[in-house]
């Protein structure tokens, strides 16, 4: 197995040992592959995910049977929703005990069937090499996703002649990469004729490495670019054609633009409900071109006029060759007006506001950092106020919305990109969901910086309660129950800092960047700050609440 992993170019495995993976761990003891012992299997899965997102390689995690395997489940589901290439290896009870309710037995292939791209239970050691080869192939090609391999411990102990297959034959799996030429022509014609075109760019563009091609199409043809949460970084945020993020907490100008557009060019995005809002009111005047590698994503939510099934990078290259520049001068003028009229803003007073913290992280890192986020307000402020310049720098659980994702993902990202500055923008709620990984970060000397936007609330849920549930803050207040994050960090051997004043924000960030250790920055921010703009669930996305902004 180790030979197979080496053949696949695996450098690092994240995981946790246990009874049914002892033979594998014995091999790992002196294997030339780095093993990162997390403090919870969920952390291992997210770390493998973060590693994959930051590097583009397949992330690998390893856990024992039963609870070890079920602890991976949230991480696997997170990777599945965001199409992240991952191979999860689990131990299983001995083959002859399967189905016997043996100690630490769980039907993990059954449990993960709907949250993996594919999974395997190894029944014969002679199949192991082929299965590993297939797993890496399936995980990393087409629309990527997690693949789980469950290996009974008796099979782990069997010996076989090692022969790594060179070829892969899976007759039911053959993703389409090249776009249909007729469809490319139709798309090019539609773009040339458009008056109000808009690029709607999702995580698929990042995964396929289509950032350059998206940028070329946009800048050569003066087409504005709106991005999904996972698409951030595909197009530089500081470019005048960038509209930032669209959707529920997107910029008002991105939402107005897509609603008024006459042509949407969707690239590796899937028209999910957080983007489209009320479906029948979405972009009523627009023709839709949809470029996606997954045929099932096309016309699933929004009826598509020109579907192009294929790899985003390949198709965009094809499209760039045949497209003619439309006249968008009027359109860009209109968008410029929206940008002036509805800028992203927050109250700029002397209080310590979370948006300010994110802006200062951006300023201090010049948009060069890898930003991981947890889920909730912290995630949305990171998306709104950090200007992402490069692909693979925004790591966030977009589809599943997993609290506790960011910190272990940051650990994985730092492992994959040792030289990069890696920040986790967190909330006081989310960070406590995988806080045990402090040990992993410190032991492995990973200089991950964690910015806790500490407002003593589960902020996003509290915001909904404020706006839609008459301020009945049912179980969302964490005030008084949060640990002292500074002492907590210190107790693990990390560095902790508490910041309570606005003027201390930048110096604290600068100081943290110079520390070659894991740092917790505990920012005590305004407690009842809301994320605006906001589109209430089920509304059309141009019906935004602007909130009480200055």
């Amino acid at each position: 197995m180790i030979e197979c992993l080496k053949n696949e170019g695996v450098e690092v495995i994240f995981g946790y040992p246990g009874g049914q993976v002892l033979p594998i761990f014995d091999e790992l003891y002196d294997a030339p592959i780095k093993f990162i012992l997390t403090r919870h299997e969920q952390g291992a899965a997210h770390a493998a995910d973060g590693y994959a997102r930051a590097t583009g390689k397949v992330g690998v995690c390893l856990a024992t049977s039963g609870p070890g395997a079920t602890n991976l489940v949230t991480g696997i589901a997170t990777a599945y929703m965001d199409s992240i290439p991952m191979v999860a290896i689990t131990g299983q009870v001995k083959s002859f005990l399967i189905g016997n309710d043996a100690f630490q037995e769980a039907d993990i292939t059954g449990i993960t069937r709907p949250i993996t791209k594919h999974n395997y239970l190894v029944e014969d050691v002679r199949d192991l090499a082929r299965i590993l080869k297939e797993a890496f192939h399936i995980a990393s090609t087409g629309r990527p996703g997690p693949v789980l391999i469950d290996i009974p411990s008796d099979i782990q102990m069997q010996e076989t002649e090692f022969e790594y297959p060179q070829k892969i034959e899976i007759r039911g799996y053959n993703p389409t990469y090249i776009g249909h030429i007729g469809q490319i022509k139709r798309a090019a014609k539609a773009i040339a004729e458009a008056k109000r075109p808009i690029l709607y760019v999702g995580g698929g563009a990042i995964i396929s490495g289509a950032s350059e091609e998206v940028t070329e199409l946009a800048t050569k043809n003066d087409i504005p670019v709106a991005m999904t949460l996972l698409g951030l970084g595909a197009f530089p945020a500081t470019d005048k054609l960038s509209l930032g993020m669209l959707g529920m907490h997107g910029t008002a100008y991105a939402n107005h633009s897509i609603m008024e557009s006459d042509l949407i060019i969707a690239v590796g995005a899937r028209f999910d409900d957080r983007v489209t809002g009320k479906l029948d009111a979405f972009a009523p005047h627009a023709k839709v071109i949809h470029i996606d590698i997954d045929p099932a994503s096309v016309s699933k939510n929004v009826e598509v006029d020109i579907p192009i099934v294929g790899d985003a990078k390949t198709v965009m290259k094809q499209l760039n060759k045949s497209v003619k520049k439309p006249d968008t001068a009027e359109w860009l003028k209109k968008i410029e007006e929206w940008k002036k009229k509805y800028p992203l803003k927050y109250k700029d007073d002397n209080k310590l506001r979370p948006q300010y913290v994110v802006e200062e992280i951006y300023n201090a890192t010049k948009g060069e950092a890898i930003i991981c986020t947890e889920v909730g307000q912290n995630q949305m402020w990171a998306a709104q106020f950090y200007k992402f310049m490069k692909p693979r720098t925004m790591l966030s659980s977009g589809g599943l919305g997993t609290m506790g994702y960011g910190f272990p993902a940051a650990i994985g990202a730092q492992m994959g990109k040792p030289g990069a500055v890696v920040f986790d923008i967190a909330g006081d709620g989310s960070i406590q969901m995988n806080i045990q990984e402090l040990a992993t970060a410190v032991v492995n000397k990973l200089p991950v910086k964690v910015a806790i936007l500490n407002n003593c609330y589960l902020g996003m849920v509290r915001q909904w309660q404020e706006l839609f549930y008459k301020k009945r803050y049912s179980y969302t207040c964490l005030g008084g129950t949060c640990p002292d994050f500074v002492k907590l960090a210190e107790s693990y051997g990390a560095v902790g800092m508490r910041i309570t004043r606005k003027e201390d924000v930048r110096p604290a960030i600068e100081k943290a960047l110079k520390i070659d250790n894991t740092v917790f920055l505990d920012f005590h921010v305004e407690q009842e700050e809301n994320v605006f703009p906001m589109v209430p669930a089920g509304e059309a996305i141009n019906r935004m609440i602007e909130g009480g902004l200055a």
Binding site: G110, R113, P114, H118, R171, G172, D294, P295, A296
Partner: protein
Amino acid sequence: MKHTISVLVENKFGVLARISGLFSARGFNISSLAVGETEDPSVSRMTIVVEGDERTLEQIKKQLNKLIDTIKVIDFKEGEFVDRELVLIRVSVGSKNRKEVLEAIDSIGAKVVNAGSKSICVEVAGDQVKIKALLGLLRPFGILEVVRTGRVAMGTEDKIVKSEGKPEVNE
């Protein structure tokens, strides 16, 4: 609207669970599902009858195709296929109406496969029209049990379905 879909899948354990799991997870309705080995023992063929509009059907086909173990999905159009189902019906009979029941069974071309003193078990194979007709005829006598195999379908000669890369026999 009802659609008849044929799905060629790898003949491995767990594949039926993948298919049925997909239907339940995505809220698609299965009217009937029948599965068995094909002329190639490594391939199973499922006949799935589903209910839904065009768009739902489109999603079902795409999602089925996404499964690694799915080799081919065929959506049969009206007139392009024949379908059959086998049904066992246990109908109650008494000494007075036994003859009448047997006549009804005979008129449809069904046959008695097992008979007792109070009931008989009837086997009928055919298309939905035939099965419905027999059920209608037997209902007044009292149907005690019905067991159905689910429909199996095969395309007409110009719609022969083969798993990719496999040469056709006798060619």
